[in-house]
């Protein structure tokens, strides 16, 4: 992948490699220097094999998640890239007609090819130019009664092809073999139509079927058709004759020098060269003069600044253009920019917006003659698309996986807290005999590094395997024959996955080691409960001095390095990472200075964040500001309580309840709540989701663990009813409630994962509106059929059908349009699609409006009817309402400024100006009276381009010509099976290239795919549960060791061995259930917030908690936890009481 998490992959790999080497060098150097520490740290690993294995399993999760995300991205990129490269073969760029035609194939004169040959003869990067016709025609194998309505057909001028072809047996085939009655077909065409060499194929044109003999079945790939699509190849003149397009072509293929990926290096140069050469220089120069006048470059710059955040690519284009105009540097780059259609539209919009109507009109007229031929950077664009999709896929998987990564890091922390507790006496003794604190850090770090290393290796390998497994499932879900998943893992991804997994684990290990080293020697030696004792704060003058020192942090580290007053290596490392360590330490010393009054500092920082957030309309600042603010208030109340209440437990309960509760509350408020006070806010990126989840989970766990007294009381009340278990449950609950820290950590782990899984489950249910009311998607029709606009149905379709079998049949046509708001903010023309329907659609459709103007009707039906009655009205698709899709590319098609997601159903109609694409004619004014809900077919969720719906006659009037109907909708009157009838229709209208399908079947299969995707993500997110379960296992092992004497006492007072086992099992189930409870609570809360947003746009959406699914989730998780703790629980139950009592 080019970029991972927005960072260039190569740079990331270099940084990771450097960090990895740094870690290994530090650890190796340190361990050689003080081998005894290395030995002390690592000797426990082989001693306790079971525990070590459990730790490694838990730690490897981060590596698994990262490796899987990258592997899926790599495979998707490789597979899409293969399609792009394979289907194009030697072709790198494709030259097409100027794009003036509204529909159908755009032919141009063969002489244009000669012109292109002429201009490119001196370009050394261009190897070949091949003129050809590319179209789609119906075809059939009459003998076997098989038809393919969408056969890709190419007519190639073979005189410009150097290489011979290869047939399916690998034999070389001469291109000269083709005669006027023969064709080549590719492997896939042979497969689809069951044709072999020598068979006859029928190709349908508007003159009827024509027979051709299959000269050879060629291997798929390259110019004769690749990437699993069926292709038929003609000699150019044969196809020209067949189509009645003598001396005309549709495309010129450009092949760069170099083979395979090598040729891609020249793609941009060749594309730019051809674009500049195929742009009319005189026209471009005239436009340049026009644009550089009257401060227009300044306005272009202003527009660029406005879209900087939302569309960086266009921002760069515009700023470059503005600079060129300001510097008066007319060059090829300007030619390339101005020949780009969307850029030109944007410029026209800027001119109109800033009052340069006359100039805009002139540019519009000039633009008509600007482009002689268009150049598509086809192969490079395909490769870029592969990059974009794979980056998106990696991001999605990383974000879903980030919860598990967090859980993994919590486990590492927990493991080290427990290891430190287990060895506190040993470590205390070590400190007593002269080991320094940093020695303890090293000791733990060495042990942790060995775990991390083993975990990173195992995790990366498992992640690679898992990514391949998941992409195969993905392929099944996508379910297309034209796309093959090709497993691939790049060495760079492998390095990044391994290094990042190891480094993440290493950082957590060092942090945990630092915390573990902070022990009080006496407390540790005596084996008392509080291993970690808080030091008394330094006097204020020392704290103030530390603050001043940290203000000059880099100088402080330099001073330490030169004087040796602190360990030099550490100071050097801190100096190297000073961009991070400086602010961190400065803020830390600020908090140290404020001490127990830190809430004041937190309050001030939060207030500043809040104010800057309101000023800049930035949600992130407001979010952090309010969270910090309420936390500061809660801390203040804790401080005041401690002055008046003597019982520290009560103070903790009050403080913790407020801290956790208030933070949870403000994190559960929807953005719209803040927008009530601050106006519209800019949304943070997708990273905010895992961060918000983590904050909410931490707050909920804090709230819960601060109220253990209350919790124990309630649980005892419930459990005291089960007389047989009373004694067991009492101890089973009391132990985890007493170890708040480790229980809280484990609860947080389960909470985080169950939280994500719950959101998936509930959101899955919300989308069920489509299954319950499919007509809202299908419009109530059974079959949709498309036909080639080159082969329209002559006369009325009804004449060719038995109309007794149909309730409704109507057609539609679609064209590209340019549209802008007449008033409002979006007054630059943007591209969109206009779909004009025959009148029956307006009378019968069951598509619903998400918004409409009640002036034009009070029901959906009346709104649709208004279009028939008034030709100046249109209805728009739901995608014109701006929505924040954090994963997709910026939406450059038309969007309205009048409606926002969540607005009321009733709106005021607004005016738009519409004209057909690439025309200099004036746009006509129309009124948008309704917005179809996003659920409706053709609208689509996220990323769907804007569409407008109108009557067929209005469509014709915009196009200024009679549009061919290219889509038909059928509603069957009887009980016929729509899928079977669709096939029947395809046969009937084979000559028109009809492609028909059952709308309901399509909807069901799409839903099945969506559900399967959801389950896949759910499964991926659920990986974190493995860590939670491992944590339970580790906790149980530790508990058995720690509580041996207590086990002895319990046995002495009459606990049977089975009761001891039950106690441990209840204990792990109890912790797990607490985590599940937190997760379900947060998941339901978050899903409800999301549902509230969705339900505003999706009428009838239901909020359903899938109890069955939740039950299974709880059951499986609890069973897994019980299984993880069964071995230690058994061990505990088998301990002989006297032996347990003897244990020190």
């Amino acid at each position: 992948m080019d970029k991972i998490f927005g960072i260039p992959a190569n740079n990331l790999a270099i940084v990771m490699a450097v960090l990895l080497i740094l870690v290994l060098v530090i650890v190796t150097f340190g361990s050689i220097r003080r081998f005894i520490l290395f030995k002390m740290g690592t000797r426990n690993i082989p001693r306790r094999k079971g525990q070590s294995l459990l730790i490694v399993i838990g730690l490897m999760l981060s590596s698994i998640i990262i490796a899987t995300s990258l592997g899926i991205g790599d495979t998707v990129r490789y597979s899409i890239r293969f399609v792009a490269v394979d289907s194009l073969g030697v072709v790198d760029e494709v030259i097409k007609g100027p794009g003036k035609q509204l529909f159908g194939d755009e032919y141009f004169d063969y002489s244009e090819f000669t012109y292109v040959q002429d201009i490119s003869k001196d370009n050394v990067n261009i190897d070949q130019l091949i003129p050809y016709i590319q179209t789609t025609l119906p075809s059939s194998n009459e003998q076997k009664d098989i038809a393919e309505s969408n056969m890709s057909v190419r007519g190639i001028d073979f005189s410009y092809i150097d290489q011979p072809f290869e047939n399916t047996d690998g034999k070389e085939i001469s291109k000269d073999l083709l005669g006027p009655n023969t064709v080549f077909i590719n492997y896939d065409a042979g497969k689809v139509l069951e044709l072999s060499k020598g068979d006859t194929i029928q190709i349908y044109t508007n003159q009827g079927p024509n027979n051709f003999v299959v000269e050879e079945v060629l291997k798929s790939g390259g110019i004769t058709g690749g990437s699993s699509y069926p292709y038929v190849t003609f000699e150019l003149s044969t196809l020209q004759k067949l189509l009645g397009k003598e001396n005309q072509i549709t495309n010129i293929a450009v092949s760069n020098i170099g083979n395979g990926d090598e040729s891609l290096e020249y793609s941009d140069d060749v594309t730019n060269f051809l674009r500049s050469q195929l742009t009319n220089n005189d026209v471009a120069s005239e436009i340049f003069d026009l644009l550089k006048s009257n401060d227009i470059p300044k306005f272009i710059n202003q527009e660029a600044e406005e879209i900087k955040e939302t569309d960086k690519e266009t921002y760069e284009k515009l700023t470059d253009l503005s600079k060129k105009l300001t510097d008066n540097s007319y060059d090829d780059e300007f030619l390339i920019s101005i020949s780009d259609y969307p850029t030109r539209l944007l410029l026209l919009g800027i001119l109109e917006k800033t009052g340069f109507q006359k100039e805009a009109a002139k540019v519009l007229v000039l633009s008509q003659d600007l482009t002689r031929l268009r150049v598509d950077n086809t192969k490079s664009d395909g490769v870029k698309l592969a990059e974009a999709i794979s980056t998106g896929v990696t991001t999605i998987f990383s974000i879903f996986g980030s919860f598990s990564i967090m859980v993994g890091m919590l486990l590492i922390f927990l493991v080290f807290v427990l290891l430190a507790a287990a060895r506190s006496t040993e470590l205390g003794m070590a400190r007593a005999v002269g080991l320094k604190r940093r020695d303890l850090i090293q000791l733990f770090t060495y042990e942790g590094t060995v775990y991390s290393f083993l975990a990173a290796i195992a995790g990366t390998l498992l992640g690679v395997g898992l990514s391949f497994g998941l992409v195969y499932i993905l392929q099944d879900l996508i379910g297309t024959d034209n796309f093959n998943i090709l497993p691939y893992y790049s060495p760079i991804s492998l390095l990044i996955a391994f290094a990042s997994g190891l480094i993440l684990t290493f950082i957590t290990v060092v942090f945990s080691a630092y915390r573990a080293s902070n022990l009080n020697i006496v407390v540790a030696i005596r084996g008392l409960k509080d291993e970690f004792v808080k030091k008394a704060p330094d006097p204020i003058n020392i704290r103030f001095n530390q603050l001043l020192w940290n203000l000059l942090y880099p100088i402080k580290q330099l001073y330490f390095i030169f004087t040796g007053k602190a360990p030099r290596v550490r100071s050097l490392l801190l100096l190297v990472i000073f961009p991070v360590s400086w602010p961190f330490n400065f803020i830390k010393s600020l908090f140290v200075l404020f001490g127990k009054h830190s809430y004041v500092l937190l309050g001030v920082i939060s207030l500043l964040l809040l104010l800057t957030g309101i000023q800049n309309s930035a949600y992130v600042n407001i979010w952090f500001g309010t969270t910090g603010g309420v936390l500061a208030v809660a801390l203040l109340i804790r401080f005041i309580s401690s002055k008046y209440i003597n019982d520290p437990e009560t103070v903790n309960q009050i403080g913790g309840t407020l801290e956790g509760g208030l933070v949870l509350l403000v994190n559960s408020l929807p953005v719209s709540f803040y927008e009530n006070f601050s106006g519209e806010l800019s949304q943070p990126g997708p990273w905010s989701w895992p961060l918000g989840g983590a904050i909410s989970t931490a707050a909920a766990v804090w709230l819960l663990m601060s109220n253990t007294r209350f919790l124990i009381f309630i649980l005892n009340l419930i459990l005291s009813r089960f007389s047989g278990l009373k004694a067991v449950t009492k101890t089973a609950i009391s132990y985890p409630m007493a170890s708040k820290f480790r229980t809280g950590l484990t609860v947080a782990m389960f909470g985080l994962i169950i939280f994500t899984l719950m959101i998936f489950s509930v959101l899955n249910g919300i989308g069920d509106v489509a299954s319950e009311e499919p007509e809202r998607v299908t419009g109530g029709y059974d079959i949709k059929a498309s036909i080639s606009s080159e082969l329209p149905i002559q006369g009325k379709i009804e004449d060719s059908l038995n109309m007794n079998e149909f309730s409704t049949v109507f057609g539609s046509s679609s064209i590209d349009i340019e549209i802008k708001e007449t008033d409002g903010e979006n007054t630059s023309f943007k591209t969109s699609r206009l779909i004009s329907y025959e009148e029956d659609f307006m009378n019968t459709t069951k598509w619903r409006m998400a918004h409409f103007d009640p002036k034009y009707g009070s029901t959906d039906k009346e709104i649709w009817q208004s279009l028939v009655n008034n030709p100046n009205l249109v209805v728009a698709s739901g995608s014109i309402i701006p929505s924040d899709d954090p994963f997709g590319p910026p939406n450059r098609s038309f969007q309205t400024s009048f409606i926002e997601p969540g607005d009321e159903k009733e709106i005021n109609a607004f005016d738009v100006n519409i004209r057909k694409r690439r025309t200099s004619e004036d746009a006509e004014k129309f009124t948008v009276i309704g917005i179809v809900e996003r659920l409706a077919e053709d609208s689509g969720f996220g990323g769907g381009n804007a569409k407008f719906y109108t009557t067929y006659s209005t469509g014709n009037s915009i196009a200024k010509e009679n549009l061919p109907l290219d889509n038909y909708y059928f509603l069957l009157s009887g009980d016929q099976n729509p899928e079977n009838y669709a096939q029947k229709l395809e046969k009937t209208f084979l000559a028109n290239g009809m492609n028909a399908y059952s709308l309901l079947d399509r909807l069901e299969s799409e839903q099945a795919t969506a559900n399967a995707f959801n389950k896949l993500f759910q499964g991926f997110s659920g990986l974190g549960l493995v860590v939670g379960v491992a944590a339970i296992g580790v906790l149980s092992v530790r508990a058995v060791v720690e509580r041996r004497q207590s086990i002895g006492v319990l046995r002495a007072i009459g606990f049977k061995s089975s009761m001891i086992r039950t106690q441990f099992l209840i204990e792990s189930s109890f912790i797990t259930i607490l985590g599940i409870f937190v997760g379900i609570f947060l998941g339901v809360l978050q899903s409800w917030l999301i549902y509230n947003e969705i339900s505003k746009e999706l009428e009838g959406a239901k909020f359903v908690i899938p109890f069955g699914e939740v039950g299974i989730l709880i059951g499986l998780t609890v069973i897994a936890s019980i299984l993880a703790s069964i071995i230690p629980a058994n061990q505990a139950s088998k301990t002989y009481p006297a032996e347990a009592l003897r244990y020190e």
Partner: protein
């Protein structure tokens, strides 16, 4: 005439592997009557605690037999032994061995809950027993919040709450100062008088030994006097 409630015949117990085997009990024969307070004394490592563990069914033995209230421990499985301990025995340890996560009253009521008492009943009895050891006001405190003497009194209350026939005490005053040692022994003797329970106390303390009805002296795993 009081009945014999504890008796052993030729009791043997060894620890460890063959080459490092420690013969902790070498043919011990003792008998203790109902209501007796018996002190078991002897130097460290002589087998006192091992004898106590074997008698109370906390540990197994290799040879010989133990009869408690006429029942042979040899014939009982682990669960029967647990039930026997729950209903007939109470324990006091040198290091108190209270469960740190339970309050004083919860620690005391635990044996009752094990024996099948209802929560309410157990709580009433536990509070009553705590009152007997003068700790009614400390009932909701955790062991960590109590002094050594208080903790041992809670242990005593826990040992006696289910009115066991026999109370085993392993160095019950080993961690206490002389003042607290006297308090505990006074309490113990008073309870013995009130309920006629049998007390077997392993101790190093001459004072504790002095207040027992009878002393069993041990040396190298055998009864020496």
């Amino acid at each position: 005439m009081s009945e014999i409630v504890i008796s052993t015949t030729n009791l043997h117990k060894s620890y460890g592997l063959k080459d490092q085997e420690v013969h902790a009990l070498r043919g011990v024969d003792i008998s203790i009557k109902e209501g007796e307070i018996v002190g078991v004394m002897g130097p460290s490592g002589c087998g006192k605690t091992t004898l106590l563990n074997c008698l109370s069914g906390l540990d197994s033995f290799d040879d010989g037999n133990i009869l408690i209230q006429g029942k042979s421990l040899k014939d009982q499985n682990d669960d029967q032994l647990s039930e026997f301990r729950a209903k007939k025995m109470g324990f006091v340890f040198q290091t108190y061995n209270l469960l740190p996560v339970l309050t004083a009253v919860e620690n005391v009521e635990l044996p009752l809950l094990v024996s099948g008492f209802s929560g309410k009943e157990a709580r009433i009895k536990a509070i009553k027993k705590l009152a007997e050891v003068d700790l009614e006001n400390q009932q909701h405190q955790l062991p960590g919040q109590l002094s050594g003497g208080q903790r041992q009194r809670v242990t005593l209350a826990r040992a006696l709450v289910n009115e066991p026939a026999i109370v085993w005490a392993d160095e019950p005053t080993g961690n206490l100062d002389s003042e607290n040692e006297q308090v505990i022994m006074d309490l113990l003797i008073q309870l013995n008088k009130d309920n006629n329970q049998t007390f077997v106390i392993v101790t190093h303390s001459e004072y504790v030994g002095g207040r027992a009805h009878r002393i069993i002296n041990m040396k190298d795993g055998e009864i020496s006097k």
